[in-house]
């Protein structure tokens, strides 16, 4: 006996009954849509439109109100509705701009890329930054390692130096 899950879709009074995989697929689509629309001031409104439309299409595919909707139904409907295109798809735009900022840089990282980030930020060569870090860790009896770890968890990440420069340049133009 397969698990049946229930879901409410905006505007529809009836509750939709879905198989578990169909339910998961629908939830995943809606969450992805919410994510794509997070910069849209009317995202709640757009999400309601989408849910309503998905509900109408699912209703049209059901032969009776009792029917459990399966993954094929959901996949077909979601394919018709298509991926949600929000205002921006560029992740770098999500990074707040306006001033020079510290990032971790994954390219050439030894551990978290903190030293790479500090080097790019300060203009000091990365070997020097690493040496200073190791020296400070030695002098403080390992306590400074906590600073490294904290930075590793707190700093935002960019994948490459080229992207760091791109963000940085954009910031300079703005400020």
């Amino acid at each position: 006996m397969q698990t049946v899950k229930q879901i409410n879709l905006s505007g529809h009074h009836t509750i939709f009954r879905l198989s578990e995989d169909a339910y998961d697929a629908l939830r995943q689509y809606l969450e992805q849509a919410r994510l794509s629309l997070r910069d849209d001031p009317d995202h709640e409104d757009v999400l309601r439109d989408l849910e309503q439309s998905i509900g109408e299409k699912l209703t049209a595919r059901m032969r009776s109100g009792e029917q459990v909707i399966n993954i094929t139904d959901v996949s077909t409907v979601l394919e018709q509705v298509g991926p949600v295109e929000g205002g921006n798809s560029n992740n770098l735009k999500d990074i707040p701009q306006g001033k020079r900022r510290l990032y971790r840089i994954k390219e050439g990282q030894n551990i978290f890329g903190v030293c790479q980030g500090l080097a790019a930020y300060s203009g000091i060569r990365v070997d020097w930054v690493r040496t200073i870090f190791i020296a400070l860790t030695g002098v403080t009896g390992g306590l400074f390692l906590l600073v490294y770890l904290a930075l590793g968890f707190l700093l935002p990440v960019v994948p490459t130096h080229a992207e760091y420069d791109a963000v940085h340049k954009a910031s300079l133009n703005l400020s």
Partner: protein, 113 residues
Amino acid sequence: MENTDKFTPLRKGLLEFLILNIVSSRKVYAADILKRLSKTDFATQEGTLYPLLSKMRREGLLDYEWQESDLGPPRKYYKLTDTGHQQLVEFRQYWQFLTNFIQELGENDNANR
């Protein structure tokens, strides 16, 4: 068409003006717009259309009203605002200008050869 990828951004940018055109003739709901475009190069989907309609409404080009439907929940029927009408007129003029301009460029180049 071989260069079809190159035209993608162009089509994307034009979509908004095609919607203005479609909505200008009568009150429509989203599915009408999709259906009107479905067999054309500009075929699109709800996932693209809804955010765009919402943006156009925010910019004051469109407005909607709810209408009951026999087949399910009430639907949003869109119509153009005065600003929307005005923008459509401007777009058509600009399009006309572009068409003439492109035509002219081609002719001049041929004449100079």
